[in-house]
């Protein structure tokens, strides 16, 4: 074989064009990688839909059925009925919106306050760090639940936004400290020094260089603080320190224990257990889904090429 013939058989080297992958596709892949994550995701989607469309599925005043007070579980009343004969399932579904919206807003406020203050304190250090951290210490040492109880006497919690804001403002302290400590270690890394050397603005460095590196931590915290916020608000309603404006899970618990006597009469047990079941299921969904969050935000774990 002559050299020219050999040269013909050799294919010209063409490097593969690499176009990258989209964030959403990678996220979807991370979720579908494990069955547990899919279950968690489906539970979260189910509750989200419940919060969005739930109140439209039933009439504004839920029907009462005096013949079926504390009815046992049946096809008509899958979770039994309450003291008026209203379906517990309907109560859970219509009550989801306030609880979930307030919790989501609470978690969002927690994460936004915590992240922004933590990033600023950790990156700029010096006096801004001292001031922010003293304020954080103050919020960390104030016992949040008693404070919520006190605040609830002076504040109208009728709107979920007000509830979410209060939940957020009492719980961002730990988040700010954690983000600050991560920022402190990241700011000494070579790529932050390089960004400073290239003359990029502090705003860019904080939110485009450092923030993506703590995003998986933030994402996980967002989800865990949703459960934390749900417990806090349901607890407030259960204790009865917040006026009952709307029907929700906490109100159901309160009524079941203090009015229906679910602790003593087994008939009222479905009324007590159905909001607990909803809470349990949501927590389970979030815990199962948490596993995927790190993979979604960390490009090193997104091995899909």
């Amino acid at each position: 074989m002559t050299t020219t013939e050999t040269a013909k058989t050799v294919k010209a080297f063409k490097p593969n064009i690499y176009q990258g992958h989209s964030f959403w596709r990678a996220a979807w892949r991370a979720i579908t990688r494990k069955v547990s994550r899919v279950i968690g995701f489906l539970i979260i989607v189910m509750f989200t839909l419940m919060a969005i469309v739930g109140p439209y599925l039933y009439p504004k005043e839920l029907p009462i059925d005096p013949n079926n007070i504390y009815a046992p579980l049946s096809w008509k009343y899958p979770l039994g009925t309450d003291f008026e004969g209203t379906s517990n399932l309907a109560l859970i579904i219509t009550g989801a919106r306030y609880v979930l919206l307030a919790a989501a807003l609470g978690a969002l406020f927690t994460v936004i306050f915590g992240t922004v203050l933590g990033l600023i304190a950790g990156y700029f250090i010096g006096w801004s760090d001292s001031v922010i951290m003293r304020i954080t210490d103050f919020f960390l040492t104030v016992p949040s639940f008693p404070l919520l109880v006190v605040l609830s006497t002076v504040w109208n919690f009728g709107h979920p936004l007000a509830m979410g804001f209060i939940l957020g403002i009492t719980s961002w302290g730990g988040m700010a400290r954690a983000v600050r400590s991560q920022t402190l270690s990241l700011r000494e890394r070579g790529f932050i020094e390089a960004a400073r050397g290239l003359g990029l603005s502090p705003f860019y460095i904080l939110f485009r260089e450092i923030l993506p590196n703590v995003s998986s931590y933030i994402g996980m915290n967002l989800l865990t603080s949703i459960t934390g916020c749900i417990y806090a608000e349901v607890g407030l309603f259960f204790l009865g320190v917040v006026p009952f404006h709307v029907n929700n899970w906490g109100v159901m618990l309160n009524m079941a224990v203090f009015s229906a006597g679910a602790m003593s009469s087994p008939d009222a047990l479905p009324y007590l257990l159905s909001p607990l079941l909803a809470l349990l299921l949501l927590t389970l969904g979030i815990v199962l889904f948490l596993d995927a969050v790190d993979e979604i935000f960390n490009p090193r774990l997104r091995e899909d090429i």
């Binding site: 490097p15 690499y18 990258g20 070579g190 790529f191 390089a194 003359g199 260089e209 590196n213």
Partner: protein, 332 residues
């Protein structure tokens, strides 16, 4: 043209509440880098070579002395003006695994500064794209395969090339290459060194090459000046080739002796010696020669007065008893 005059840096370390230790990292260092020129700083770990690099790119403030860029003294300038000048000096980090943001694609990294440059030059997004391709090709990478990759998908050598491309986005006059090849796979080192030499020869970018390895300093091209640092002081300077052939200072000779030789092809120089004592960072400053406690040729008079950097023929050295010793490897 970048000039450094009598640069000094002292670090203060708080040992206890009332007591603080000082470490003199850099002592009276002066040099100038002409545009398109190259200088290598060599010395062992802790000799202050990295500190000089960090002071030059504004990451540390000198204790005294001045850095003059294009005739403007940095310390007299306002902050904004100073930052603008400092952008002309870009540092290439030693560790390519730390210097790239793991959450950004190569495209995002380059676009961040290129967009800023485009605004300054009043150019559109097309210019950014073009420039990105151009710079990646210049450093020897294929834009199509690499642009949307994350740093963890690249090898050490590729990362170092990306870092160089990123430094080039701001159109620097001086690249500070701080041990650029020490963390890279041996087989890829020469490629990076050759790239630096090409940048210098074709684009007139000056290079400050910081290394502990004399051999790699030789790859930077002709008329490279070599500065040998010991405990923050210049102990010998001259052209690289000349210092390797005729080292005067015992410390330079010790560094050259430490270079491995290719057995069978080369044989060690006949005066080769190995330092037995370790480098110590003492907080008391000896009045005599800084190297006297480790120098195998030291005389009692060495620890009385500190030698100055004096000219001797073509080279400069700071030693009372300079003597050319034959320590470099010779071919068999």
């Amino acid at each position: 043209m970048i000039e450094i005059k009598n640069l000094e840096k002292t670090f203060y370390i708080k040992a206890s509440f009332s007591n603080r230790k000082t470490v003199q990292a850099v002592r009276h260092v002066s040099f100038s880098i002409p545009s398109g020129g190259a200088i290598s700083l060599i010395g062992e770990s802790g000799c202050g070579k990295t500190t000089i690099g960090r002071m030059l790119c504004g990451m540390e403030t000198p204790t005294s002395g001045s850095i003059i860029i294009d005739g403007q003294d940095l310390s007299t300038l306002k902050r904004k003006e100073r930052n603008r000048l400092l952008q002309k000096i870009q540092l290439i980090h030693q560790d390519p695994y730390q210097a790239l943001n793991p959450t950004h694609t190569i495209q995002q990294m380059l676009a961040a500064t290129l967009k800023k440059m485009a605004r300054q030059k009043k150019k559109g997004p097309e210019w950014v794209r073009q420039r990105m391709d151009e710079l990646l090709r210049l450093v020897g990478l294929d834009p199509e395969t690499i642009l949307f990759k994350y740093p963890h998908m690249l090898s050490g050598g590729q990362r170092q090339r990306v870092i160089i491309a990123r430094a080039l986005t701001v159109e620097p006059d001086l690249l500070i290459a701080d041990e650029v090849v020490s963390m890279i796979d041996v087989s890829l080192r020469l490629g990076i060194l050759k790239l630096l030499r090409d940048l210098r020869e074709n684009y007139n970018i000056s290079i400050l090459f910081i290394t502990h390895d004399i051999a790699s300093a030789r790859y930077l091209g002709s008329n490279t000046e070599l500065y040998v640092l010991y405990k923050g002081m210049i102990v010998e300077k001259g052209y690289t080739e000349q210092i390797i052939r005729q080292p005067h200072h015992p410390y330079t000779q010790a560094l050259l002796s430490a270079m491995p030789i290719l057995n069978g092809i080369e044989k060690p120089g006949k005066d080769r010696f190995v330092l037995t004592s370790q480098f110590k960072q003492s907080d008391t400053d000896p009045s005599g020669c800084l190297f006297a406690d480790r120098c195998p040729f030291s005389q009692p008079s060495c620890s009385e007065k500190r030698p100055e950097l004096v000219q001797d023929g073509d080279s400069y050295h700071a030693c009372f008893f300079p003597e050319v010793r034959n320590v470099a490897a010779e071919s068999v």
